[in-house]
Amino acid sequence: MITLDHVSKTYSTGAPALNDVSLHIDPGEFVFIVGDSGSGKSTLIKLLLRELLPTSGNIEVNGINVVKLKHRQIPMYRRKLGVVFQDFRLLKDRNVYENVAFAQRIVQTPGKEIRRNVPSMLSTVGLAGKYKAKPKQLSGGEQQRVALARALVNNPPILLADEPTGNLDPNNSWEIMKLFEEINETGTTVVVVTHNREIVNAMKKRVIAMNKGVIISDEKEGTYVDEI
């Protein structure tokens, strides 16, 4: 499902972010990518989103060679990925319903289906009663649920989350992680970049630990690995 083959990334400033990284994630897996700031985990997410291109190596996602994608092919590729960010990235001037519906409008879902799918997705993330609220009227946890609903409404086979609990309190962090687990149980591949030690250690999922742009450990039911 996701394969990185000897991927390196050096920024134009000369700073190396990833150094010869290879990994494989199977369909339906739940994977944590952990590491401190500067370990290269966010670069990894940006490469998967095709926001960046690797300096060398190959990336394959859903059978697509991401490196060879043309600019006009990128939107189609991204529609197969659900993405959740630390800062939620909601459209601030639109309400909860419109934020989620927007992802469906992009893929030109008929209006009738949008009116059916969006309330259903909002009730999955526990926000059915707040569909009219604007993002600034919601708590951090609620905003992240909206972002999650938007990421999932088009049923993507892969969900990428970049520090999804970074701006949340412990309770909300756990609520979000439970939702991720439920989504994973429906067959969606979930990749979570985090440095939340408590959650990683408690959930007993595959843990890929990174440090200074290289993978330092990859364990099936792993725990948070500290810098070596």
Partner: protein, 299 residues
Amino acid sequence: MRFSTFFYTLKQGIVNIFRNKWYSLASIATISACLLMFGVFYSVVANFQYIVKMAQEGVSVTVFFDEGLSDDRIAEIGDIINARPEVARTNFVSADEAWESFKEDYLGEYADGFGDDNPIADSANYEVYLKDVSKQDDLVNYLEGVDGVREVNHSEITANTLSGMNKLVSYVSLGIIAILLAVSVFLISNTVTIGISVRKEEIGIMKYIGATDFFVRAPFVIEGILIGVLGCVVPLVSIYFIYNKVIDYLSTRFTMLSQLLKFLSVQQIFQILIPVSLAIGIGIGFIGSFSTVRKHIRV
């Protein structure tokens, strides 16, 4: 594109105007200011050119014939003159008509002494009016060579002055239009720069969740075009009322002026001003929004 997507895009374009109302107002005001300057300038120049054109149309070349030339040959000469591309129209003046006109203009009651005699019996002529007085020399040279033509009268000074004025007006117009365009581009690029900060985040989010360039761009472009159209309305309505007031004022206050000069009607001015203003307004709105989005679309 689905109908629902089309209407969504259209609706978003309209909603965007209200969402960023200060940005929209600033853009509309900028376009309005530019078009108002353009409209006022165009109204003045168009009237000036009209007045010069009217004066040019009054300039004529007079063609006299050899003594005793037959009527058939005179008619042939008329055909030859009318066939020239620079000729707008001709008017045949018989010897009697020429004498009557001369008496009226210069002799008055003293003409009675001539009785029925016509002292200018060989003064039948064609008055030739030109489309463009700068071509007068070419026509005169040609006519002087036509068999049966005795003399060609013309005023070189009048023709040269009017032709020079016309050229001057054209050059000054071009210069001022260029300056106005440069000012417009400067003002609009400043407004667009303000808009970029508002749009940057929004465009990025849309692109991350898989929106195509077209889907991201279309509402912004519709918004830009609508801002352009709204930016046209204020100057056009203002010019409509101001123009009529100024013409009324000039006609009533300076009656001598209004007898000498004829001004274009507001309808004649608007025949050009409406399509040109709309084209400029929509063009600016389109290019402004298109370029704003382009800077952030490659995410």
